[in-house]
């Protein structure tokens, strides 16, 4: 029997962990001589106080949903995919090639094509570490870290070589053709006189991300494959005994993971930049780790955590604009969230379990 009721495991522990991270972040803000309460108000105002702010918050959240889901599905198979960054970079390469070299008649088709291209490129980049883990036992964490660096160099190579606009000094691809541009929230939600989400980068990809959440939920909890992945994650030996092939599960879970990370590129490359630039991912692959940990690897949790991080990102940008608090504060918060919800999980869990045990004893 579980020591704690389910709600405590799913809601209480993450809440306490986030609270701890928030308190420490507030202390950091205090230590550098700013007012944490004022900072929070500024962040809420900047990220949620206007449709413009929401447009940025949801744009960032879309990135983090994809990378968070990528880390989450790998977690279910007890794989730690740190390579989301590299897979998302490669996804961007896929999107750029698809958008630049295929004359798309309409954005709907371009979106479909780019999503497939991004998924294939991302999955391919995850396939090599997955294969090495499954067949040669090379630790997937180390290989995916190495692949992040290799991906960054590869993109660098393409952007100063084959994809660069001739005559331009900037390491970036050409602008995608008009027909491949995705509708932004401004295009979609502005009627008549009122313009909503003016200039914000949020675009239709947000709904693709939401669909991906639902699809992944269905995959994990409503299909045989999802059951096999979870069984493998709980106990490799038991899964083997039940006739589940470890090689297959590692490969499939990592391919899905890489495809999801790669699909982030339809948001940032096709949706926002509308061309491929250097370091397009901007660390979103790593934020996926924090998002997946905080969301307890559940697609719905990932969605909520991605919204929170979208808020933190947009709020942090506003903070950097209006106060002397640099943007890097967000990285500190991100680190604290990873630390408390991931590595120091037992620090919160052990006393809580003791508390629930003694409460149950008192009742009996």
């Amino acid at each position: 029997m579980d020591v704690m009721p389910k709600w405590a495991d799913v809601v209480l522990i993450p809440l306490i962990s986030i609270l701890l991270a928030a308190i420490l972040s507030a202390l950091v803000i205090l230590a550098i001589g700013e007012n944490p309460w004022e900072a929070l108000k500024l962040m809420v105002q900047g990220a949620l106080g206007s449709t413009y702010g929401w447009g940025y918050t949801l744009y960032y959240a879309t990135n983090f949903i994809f990378t968070g889901l990528a880390v989450a599905i790998a977690f279910h198979a007890r794989m730690f995919n740190i390579g989301g960054e590299g897979q998302a970079l490669l996804g961007g390469l896929g999107v750029a090639i698809i958008c630049l070299y295929i004359p798309w008649p309409h954005w709907t088709l371009a979106l479909l094509g780019a999503a497939i291209g991004a998924a294939i490129f991302g999955a391919a980049w995850a396939a090599i570490p997955a294969f090495l883990q499954a067949k040669r036992g090379s630790h997937i964490v180390i290989t995916t870290i190495m692949f992040n660096f290799i991906a960054a160099a590869l993109l660098n190579y393409f952007l100063i070589g084959a994809l660069k606009v001739p005559g331009s000094m900037e390491p970036a691809s050409a602008k995608f053709p008009e027909a491949a541009h995705l509708p932004s929230f401004q295009d979609m939600f502005s009627f008549g006189e009122s313009t909503l989400f003016r200039g914000a980068p949020a675009n239709i990809t947000f709904f693709v991300a939401v669909a991906a959440c639902v699809a992944l939920w269905a995959l994990i909890w409503r299909t045989r494959l999802g059951y096999e992945i979870r069984a493998f994650g709980h106990s490799e030996s038991a899964a083997k005994y039940a006739g589940i092939s470890p090689t297959k599960i590692i490969m499939v879970a990592m391919l899905i993971s890489g495809a999801l990370a790669g699909m982030m590129a339809i948001n940032n490359v096709q949706g926002e930049a509308e061309r491929l630039v250097l370091n397009a991912v901007e660390g979103a692959g790593f934020i996926g780790i924090a998002v997946a940990l905080m969301g307890r690897s559940h697609p719905f949790g990932v969605f909520l955590a991605a919204l929170l991080f979208g808020f933190l990102y947009q709020g942090g940008a506003e903070l950097a604009l209006w106060t002397s608090i640099p943007r890097e504060l967000i990285i500190v918060i991100q680190a604290l969230v990873i630390l408390f919800t991931g590595a120091l999980d037992n620090m919160v869990r052990m006393p809580l379990e003791r508390l629930f045990l003694s409460m149950r004893r008192a009742k009996q």
């Binding site: 950091v28 550098i32 001589g33 730690f80 740190i82 090599i128 090495l132 040669r136 036992g137 090379s138 630790h139 964490v141 180390i142 290989t143 870290i145 190495m146 692949f147 660096f149 290799i150 160099a153 590869l154 660098n156 190579y157 790593f286 780790i289 940990l293 002397s324 608090i325 640099p326 890097e328 504060l329 967000i330 990285i331 500190v332 918060i333 991100q334 680190a335 604290l336 990873i338 630390l339 991931g342 590595a343 120091l344 999980d345 037992n346 620090m347 052990m350």
Partner: protein
């Protein structure tokens, strides 16, 4: 390529290999004791910042070095708490430490010095100066040996010699002392060590602390010897290259030296594309040189060139039987 250029390249190799070597040996202690550490990068970065900051404020580089080691050790304590005491996931803890350092260094640097997340340029006394070994001047004109001694062996900052001397010291500690035997045992089979009445927790904390000290020296070297001050993200993936070197060396000290020298040489080459072009008569892509350590490590990990087998209990928290 003439002899002088070769010496220059090898000299640069020494300078660039030093932080890799220190971080690599740091990882070696930790991982040999069964604690995976992908937070080498973050510890180096934190040490680089605090050493540069304190050296800039006090004007004394040795105080700076101590502060850097302190910063690195405090991150080690977090890693120890997470992975030893609270039996958390060591890899996730390492990731958190990397981000903590990447964020905090810039936030603190900005509020402290207001120079866009960097520390002031270090001047005399705030930096490690090259030391000239005895007889270097006198032997300078002796053919071949003279220039090698003068250019390559003499004239480095003290920390370079510290790093090189750490290799035999580490070998001796690991393979010739009781502590080293227990350290290796605790990474392979902690239950056996526990049965022998030796505390697994203490041993692992000791290993993590040594790792912190060495990462601290590596970071201080970056900011106070290799360069003159801290800039944002100055560790630039060196912690991960050190990790790669550690796997390349299969967790052995002497091989760690060779791996770090190799990777340092690759870094030196990518700084001098003109030299390679002259020697090989074609251009080698700079990016390729930069990622070669990572590619080589993946190849080694894949087991195509001899298998890299990590310490058996690595990454597993130890739970005492009751």
């Amino acid at each position: 390529m003439d002899f002088a250029t070769l010496l220059q390249m090898l000299d640069a190799t020494m300078r660039l290999a030093t932080p890799l070597l220190l971080a690599c040996l740091a990882g070696l202690y930790s991982e040999r004791a069964g604690i995976f550490d992908i937070g080498l990068e973050g510890k180096m970065l934190a040490a680089a910042f605090l050493s540069a900051a304190i050296a800039a404020v006090t004007g004394n580089v040795w105080v700076g070095l101590l502060a850097g080691i302190g910063a690195s050790i405090s991150l080690s304590v977090i890693h120890g708490l997470a992975s030893i005491t609270f039996r958390g996931n060591q890899l996730i803890s390492g990731v958190a430490i990397n981000f903590l350092a990447a964020g905090l260094t810039v936030v603190v640097a900005q509020s402290w010095f207001r120079q866009g997340g960097r520390t002031p340029q270090l001047t005399d006394g705030g930096r490690f100066e090259p030391i000239t070994l005895p007889f270097a001047e006198a032997l300078r004109d002796v053919p071949v040996i003279g220039p090698i001694y003068y250019e390559l062996i003499s004239g480095h900052t003290p920390l370079v010699y510290v790093a090189v001397l750490m290799v035999p010291l580490t070998w001796w500690v690991l393979y010739r002392t009781r502590f080293g035997l227990r350290l290796r045992a605790v990474g392979e089979n902690p239950a056996a060590v526990d049965t022998a009445g030796v505390s697994v927790i203490t041993l692992r904390y000791a290993a993590v602390a040594i790792c912190g000290v060495l990462c601290g020296i590596a970071g201080a070297y970056l900011a106070t010897a290799l360069q003159a001050g801290f800039v944002k993200d100055m560790s630039a993936g060196r912690g991960f290259i050190a990790l790669a070197a550690l796997i390349f060396a299969k967790w052995r000290p002497w091989y760690a030296l060779y791996a770090c020298l190799l990777f340092g040489f690759l870094q030196a080459m990518s700084l001098r594309p003109d030299v390679i072009e002259n020697v090989l008569n074609f251009r080698v892509n700079g990016q390729l040189l930069d990622v070669l350590p990572y590619i080589l490590t993946v190849v080694i990990l894949a087991g195509f060139v001899g298998k890299a087998i990590p310490p058996r209990a690595g990454g597993e928290p130890y739970v005492k039987e009751r």
